[in-house]
Amino acid sequence: MEVPRDLLGSLGDIAKFCWRVLVEVFEGRTIKFFGETLRQAGILIIGSGLVIWGLAFILGLSICGVEAAYFNRSIGAPAYAGWFGAWCDLREAMPYAFGYMMSAKVGTGLVAEIGAMRINEEIDALDVMGISSLTFLCSTRLLAAWVVLPFMYIIAVGVGFFATHLAIVEQIGEVSSGGYSLIFWMFQNPPDLFFSTIKGMAMATVIVLVGCYYGYTASGGPVGVGTATAKSMVLNTVLVHILGMLGTQIFWGTNPRAPIGG
């Protein structure tokens, strides 16, 4: 009974913390620290952009590219590999790639950074100086994520599309470039891109909030920061998968919006 009770307790703490951070953002208190928000946005682009796009590239290459080519060859329709690639990239693989790399790079990075501030008593110093540490450290980071990440997500989707094209057309090469593009773009529609971005952003929001929570409440010296970093990764891994499933269920459910069929 001990473990479920502790788990529920800490989930409640996290929810309370997230609510406070969200309220601070929506009440516009981050306007005061707009410079800090922009600085955090810049750190996100420079520090995390390349690895996120790198993972998107590898996933687009392997799962959506090579598997698509072989699967469509096995059902006797190699020319239709673009269908598999289009749905796999946009609807499933890119949100997961984004969620995995966000939780690994940004989520644990936030815990390490804010946790070190907590251990060095810099957060207490901020509060003593009359600056709301929650607003300055957590709300600005959340706002920065919301400002920058939609664009980074769409670039990741583009990188994934490019990698899938590379694998199906150039590497396996059982479909012509034009035939691939015809099917690939026929199976795209604007709402899909929008829903996919919402899926990615939901993951990003949760990851930033979880990272801020574990960093903000770290205790027990450098070792405590390490443990908190590991713990945040556990929660993020589970939440990314649950959000991915909920997104698929809500946005696509049993209505795939395909350009074929009756």
């Binding site: 598997e67 950074e113 390490g226 590991a230 891994t237 998968h241 649950i242 991915g244 499933m245 069929g261």
Partner: protein, 271 residues
């Protein structure tokens, strides 16, 4: 002109050099681990069992939730939708051989073991490094590679391979849930699943995850044992470790999967 370019080149070169150096050191650690795992004496039995149980306790529940969720959503609902258009939902079982056994099962196992078990190992070894316990061990004449890295390496390799079976089973359970969502009978799902599944797929999947386990163990141990001081040290080590693990896992997956598919054409024939 040249004077202006030089600092930029240096700034780009330094991280590359750093990365190459770290890769080399991880390779050396891999070699040392393999040699000291085989060469007697073998004092790591107890630690091996402890680490095995530690990772098992940490990972089984996150892995269960993750595999059911991803296999219900991605291959279950999306591929099910496509198959419903063609009026061939019974083929979902055959698709799950590709989805669950070949790709999602191994990859989600690796993601969860890296994110949950690997981070815990890095944090644990990093804490010992910061408290100078590793130095103390060396002074006492105890080899940290033999007594700390080897048991973790073997435990993670074996447990990741075994967890893969667990993940594949719960992935198939996600497929069953998706079939029920479409109001379809379960008989055809299992019929196409069992007629398309091959032994090659299963051993490929288990071999792949075993090697994923080796990658996770080496990176986690390396990052933990080289954690530097300061309040941020251990946290940064965990952060860098998990990023390297994710990239390495998927890069290795790309190479392995397409080698398996290209050398065993019989597994991608629909039966």
């Amino acid at each position: 002109m040249v004077a202006g370019v030089y600092p930029v080149v240096r700034r780009a070169y330094l991280p590359v050099k750093n990365g190459l150096e770290q890769t080399g050191e991880m390779m050396i650690l891999t070699g040392k681990t393999l040699v000291s795992a085989i060469r007697p004496p073998h004092p790591y039995g107890t630690e091996f069992v402890q680490q095995f149980m530690f990772v098992l306790r940490l990972c089984w529940f996150p892995l269960l939730i993750s595999t059911v969720a991803i296999c219900y959503g991605a291959p279950g609902l999306q591929a099910g939708n496509a198959l419903v258009i063609f009026g061939a939902l019974d083929r979902l079982g055959g698709f799950f051989v590709l989805a669950s056994i070949r790709e999602i099962g191994p990859n989600v196992t690796a993601i969860v073991v890296a994110g949950v078990g690997g981070t815990a190992i890095t944090a644990d070894l990093g804490a010992r490094k910061i408290r100078e316990e590793l130095d103390a061990l060396q002074v006492l004449g105890v080899d940290p590679v033999k007594n700390l890295v080897v048991p973790r390496f073997l435990a993670l390799m074996i447990i990741t391979g075994l967890f893969n079976i667990f993940a594949v089973m719960f992935g198939l359970f996600g497929g069953v849930l998706a079939t029920i969502t479409f109001d379809a009978p379960l008989g055809p799902f299992f019929a196409t699943l069992l007629s398309n599944a091959s032994t090659t797929d299963l051993w490929g999947s288990v071999l792949k995850t075993t090697l994923f386990g080796a990658i996770i163990a080496i990176v986690s141990c390396y990052k933990g044992m080289t954690a530097s001081g300061g309040a941020e040290g251990v946290g940064r080590a965990v952060n860098q470790g998990v990023v390297i693990e994710f990239l390495a896992i998927f890069a290795f997956n790309y190479v392995f999967t397409q080698t398996l598919l290209a050398t065993h054409p019989e597994i991608s024939v629909i039966k």
